[in-house]
């Protein structure tokens, strides 16, 4: 029987890498990793594994690279069947894929618009971000998790970004638990899960990183 070797090119604070680490933890998979220095110099392995984007995360499975975080989570779910992360029924899977695509298109860039701006632009960015979360609140409905009764794929896709939310709240001057209370409750619920609690970085570290980025962009 061949041994599965999993190697993750990683960046601790990246919401995209956090997704992959949570998925691996949910499946109980052992892996080795390498923290990339995205500001100092990307490793040769990263440049070779992901020549088009040179971005993390990259998961190497027995040396073969899988790219793009949501794609990696799908791959992990398809390759290591238990426990299943995606819903069993095709319609449920199509809903999960739709909302994962929405999260990918909107959440990180929506948040970046907040930390990249000030004044009127900041107010606009804040309102747009709250609107994005309200749409996700609609998807959540009265369920405990985005996936339904159980924590699953869609929760994994979104929860990584939650470590950046306190920074957006501080810069934008708003509170998610006031604007989108169901999302606030969902975040607390997910954090009670071991794979999430052990993987999410401390919000102050994200704050420090964003502070550095704002200085680099000449915003503060």
């Amino acid at each position: 029987m061949s041994k599965d070797e999993l190697f993750l090119l990683d960046f601790g604070l990246s919401p995209f890498c956090i997704r992959v680490r949570i998925a691996l933890a949910e499946k109980g998979l052992q892996y080795k990793g390498q923290e990339e220095d995205l500001f100092g110099g990307k490793s040769e392995l990263l440049q070779k594994s992901n020549p088009i984007y040179e971005k993390v995360p990259v998961l190497l499975h027995n040396g073969k690279p899988i790219l793009e975080s949501t794609n990696i989570v799908y791959y992990i779910d398809e390759t290591f069947a238990s426990p299943p992360l995606l819903p069993a029924c095709s319609y449920g899977r199509s809903r999960a894929r739709f909302w994962a695509d929405f999260i990918d298109k909107k959440v990180f860039d929506g948040g970046a618009a907040i930390w990249r701006s000030k004044g009127d632009e900041l107010e606009l960015a804040k309102n747009e971000f709250i609107d994005i979360l309200k749409k996700l609140e609609g998807a959540l409905g009265d369920k405990d998790y985005l996936g339904g009764e159980k924590f699953g794929f869609l929760d994994i896709v979104l929860i990584g970004s939650s470590s950046w939310f306190p920074t957006y709240e501080r810069i934008g001057g708003f509170k998610i638990e006031d604007e989108c209370p169901k999302i606030g409750a969902w975040i607390k619920r997910c954090k009670g899960r071991e794979s999430v609690a052990k993987t999410l970085p401390e919000p102050h570290k994200v704050c420090e990183l964003v502070g550095m980025l704002r200085k680099m962009h000449g915003i503060e």
Binding site: N71, Y75, Y91, S94, R97
Partner: protein
Amino acid sequence: MDAAKSFQSPESLFVVHSESARMATETVKVLGCWPSPYVIRARIALNIKSVEYEYQEEDLLGGNKSDLLLKSNPVYKKVPVLLHADRPICESLVIVQYVDEVWASGPAILPSDPYDRAIARFWAIYMDDKWYPRVKEGFFSEGEASKIAFEEADKGLLLLEEAFTKCSKGQKFFGGERIGYLDIALGSHLAWIRVIEKASNVSLIDEAKTPNLYKWAHDFSADVAVKDVLPSTDKLYEFAKLLISVMKGSTPEK
């Protein structure tokens, strides 16, 4: 062999297959707009599986989106929407994957091996997020900006030519002997690519630069699942002139 089998856990396998058998008989409707490459994707997928469906053309140019469209896709209010037993599925590649899973007894659209599936999904993301926006920018911008955008699109096509060689393994399509996910993802753009080549006087899928993609484009366009839904260059060219005039708020030149 169903694509489902290679990645479904045993406990969900029974649910998927009995559900699929039941769902495959329910009514199917597509809300679309004939020039849209994204709508074309959904229709090709249904054609591959020989699914009969009702097609509703949306008047997007006239700004008259139907109530059904607005209700079915409240997040984006865009086509395509697949309505299966009145349940909406939105986003073209989500629709293609859904069709592949539900009509699992038809020819497979995605590969069965998880790594090949990951490669297919990656290149489809690349086409939509990185490559096609350069083509559109080349078309809609002017002068130096247009030139640079088309040069970047050319470089991207060289990557896609390489991807084609690896995925096709010497056969006609990205999917092998039959069209698959990546053929649909890229091929759905062919009509617009040809219009843009004509209007901007550029050669994107070029026989000398990308010989495999050049041949592939002909084979794809002629495929029985494709030929009736991929618009002719002439028809789309006339539409493009109308679209630009609407965007600029002026009458089109002949």
